[in-house]
Amino acid sequence: MKINIQRIIFILAIGIMIILIAFPLALLFYKSFLKENTLSLVNYIDVFSEKNNYLPFLNTLKIGALTVIFATAIGVILAWLVARTDIPFKGFLDTLLLVPYMIPPFIGAIAWTQLLSPRVGYINKIFMKIFDTSQGPFNIYSLMGIIWVMALYNYPFVFITVRGALERMDPSLEEAARISGAGRFEVMKDITLPLVVPAIVSGMLLVFVFTIANFGIPAIIGMRSRIYVLTTQIYRYLRMYTGGFAGVRLAAALSTLLMCVAGMAVFASNLSKKKYAIIVGKSVRPGIIELGNWKYLILAILSVFILITLIAPLASIFITSFLKAWGIPVKLENLSLKNYSYILFGYDYTKIAIKNSFLLAFSAAIITTIIGSIIAYISVKTEIKGRKILDFLTTLPYSIPGTVVAIAMILAWSGQFGVKLYYTFWIILVAYIARYMFFAFRNVSASLEQIHSSLEEAARVSGATWLQNFRDIVIPLIRPGLVASFLLVFMPTLRELTISILLVGPRTITIGTAVYNLQEEGLYQITAALSGLIIVILFIGNYLVRKVINIKTTNSI
């Protein structure tokens, strides 16, 4: 009996994943070789010979590489400070350093344009006043501007992975080195650093993939200076051709290119995958270095860092949202609540966007958790042949940039195959599910792997059918994993921009696209007010969800 049910579920799961993921991506790949119904490489030749196309490609690589360097440097230093020194206020630092997660990247980009616009940015204006110049020293609308904002958004990836590795490292490895005669510096160089390299590499990979796949930051910062990357160029192609699908051809070629770059990065990082078993069971704290009087200097530098990277953008958004008009001096008489009152009461799209985003995020999170759990169970706990294929299909979209997923969805579901989803709520939902399924799958897999098979066997021996075992034993035990995977999908999809900007229609506008459209229109104050509102909503939502989750997980087994 059990085998039959499992078989059916397996076939269903494979079917779903093929329709959801494999088919659109394959179609994209195929279309990229088509021009006017003949197979050819002409699209790719176009791509590489036209400077319109190879320049974005180069820019993408440049920005990716440099962002990785900066983000890694910042992330590693901060991780080391928090995990290995006696710097005070650690808990506080911890939360502060993770706030970038809660401000969507495109809102951060908008904030930085307000801060560092060459003649008008708040920070530049301060310099201009002090040094009496007509232009400030910083220009956000540049390659370095994009890299700066990207690095600020990405260092948390490195920070979290490296800090985790440092904290979980078996302290006796470092103690043995000290006993053998190594001084503090030599211990770091010979022992600690080599052992966290895998964590650093995985952080770097996350940074790279996120950077090359991001749309919002290069769109808001780069387009004005004609600096294009693959994601923004794809967006432009879709928009340029008012005849609908003409631009999709080139977009498909560029998308495939983008996908390859991401794929190669994943491949390269897998090559250097040395998994060191440095995780220790005992909860002994690794050696803490006492900073002594350096403490104060470092705290001061950190405070400046937090001021610049966290407080400045937030302040900028809120100040701009209260200003009556762009560019006028920040004085009390120039402030008003009218932007907020418009956003809250006058602008229809605020409510629609918020409702759509919450609905999308909630649905995507639930569906991916359910399907992801089923697939995870099949993958981890059964011996069904072919489950590796299922694994692959689920993991595939992980490294594929959102833009590519969106284009693939457009190609697959715009009517040529009988299913017309373009510009509806459903196409966005389907894209989200495809893109984020992997998060759910991975989390639940990890939880399932921790359940020893003897627990399930005991249930079967006690008389439970496979379904009862699943319901009474497995589900309660993996509840933390289920909750985590729900969150991991809910939070990013709530504020997502990259995918939805290509897929939204009139009534399906999301939070991200609402902000982007207002910014594009040039209504900077209203954009700031909506951004401010969203930051507050995300903050509260995050807090509430954590509260509920804490209760749930502490009350589960």
């Binding site: 003649r119 008008v120 928009r239 340029m240 009556k324 008009a325 560019g327 040039g522 209504l523």
Partner: protein
Amino acid sequence: MKVKRLFVMGLVVMFLLVSFTQSLFAQQKEKILLYTSVPTNIMSAIEEEFEKENPDVDLEFVRAGTGQIKTRITTECETGRVEADLIWVAEFSYYEDLKELTVGDTKGLLLRYESPKAEGIPTSLKDPEGYYCGARMINEVIAYNTNLVSDPPRTWKDLLNPKWKDQIVLADVSYSGAALVAMGALTEKYGIEYYQKLRENGAVVLEAHGGVTQSIAAGEYKVGMNLDYMIRQQKEAGSPINLIYPEDGAIAIPSPIAIVATTKNPDAAKKFVDYILSVNGQLAQVKLGSTIPVRPEIVPPLGAPSLNQLLEKSLPVDYEYIRNNAGNLTSQFTEILLAP
């Protein structure tokens, strides 16, 4: 913990209920959806005025650049269903294209409607076949920052003066219909070289005129090609920005409104067209949007030329030419001003 879980579920259920009942209530009124490139804040204000006069109609609008609206319409035609009931963008010639589009079984996307309120409006601003009618006059003019500029450029040619190098800003032709019309007129007069020289003079392109206005007002750029009504609005609000109707001719753009043939609420749609073209509607636009009215008897905004004065002084626009060359112009603009 059970309590908290129930509480959260209760919240979710309430939320869903509220949004459901909201949409139920909205069902009582006639709903119409407008695609427009009129700026969001202005459109919101007009919507409010319209709904006051017509409480049984619920107007919703989608605001996007003309280029985006064109893409949307084309795609919707391909999927067989156009969502909009009304279209109101800046590009006059586009409406001829709309007459030829097919959606589903319907050939021709526009509904023929000659509003009684269109009577006083000059014929040059209307479609002779009666499918669309100019609803507002917007003009591409020269904008400048009054704090930074004491001798603004007086003609389009003046913009090419090296003293404005890297200080010029304009809107993207593929986004803004008005910018496309302006380009059509300017290239006819000065050739495509005009735009090449703009590029050489370091002109920067932003998507929308809204951004152009904001950045000039803020002092990010000193001068630019912009829409007159936006400049007037900011000036009234106290921003250091002013406009010049260029001596070699402003570009007058009668932004027309039309009803989509497949509309499910033609009566409500007609009510909106009537309103916009009526005295009240025109007055509302002057007050809320600072645009020049299409009804010659309405007093224009302060400092603006009257409709007739405008039509005399403007650069002639050949809409046939623009219609036939829209794609060409767009790619040329992209090539010259947007390529890295």
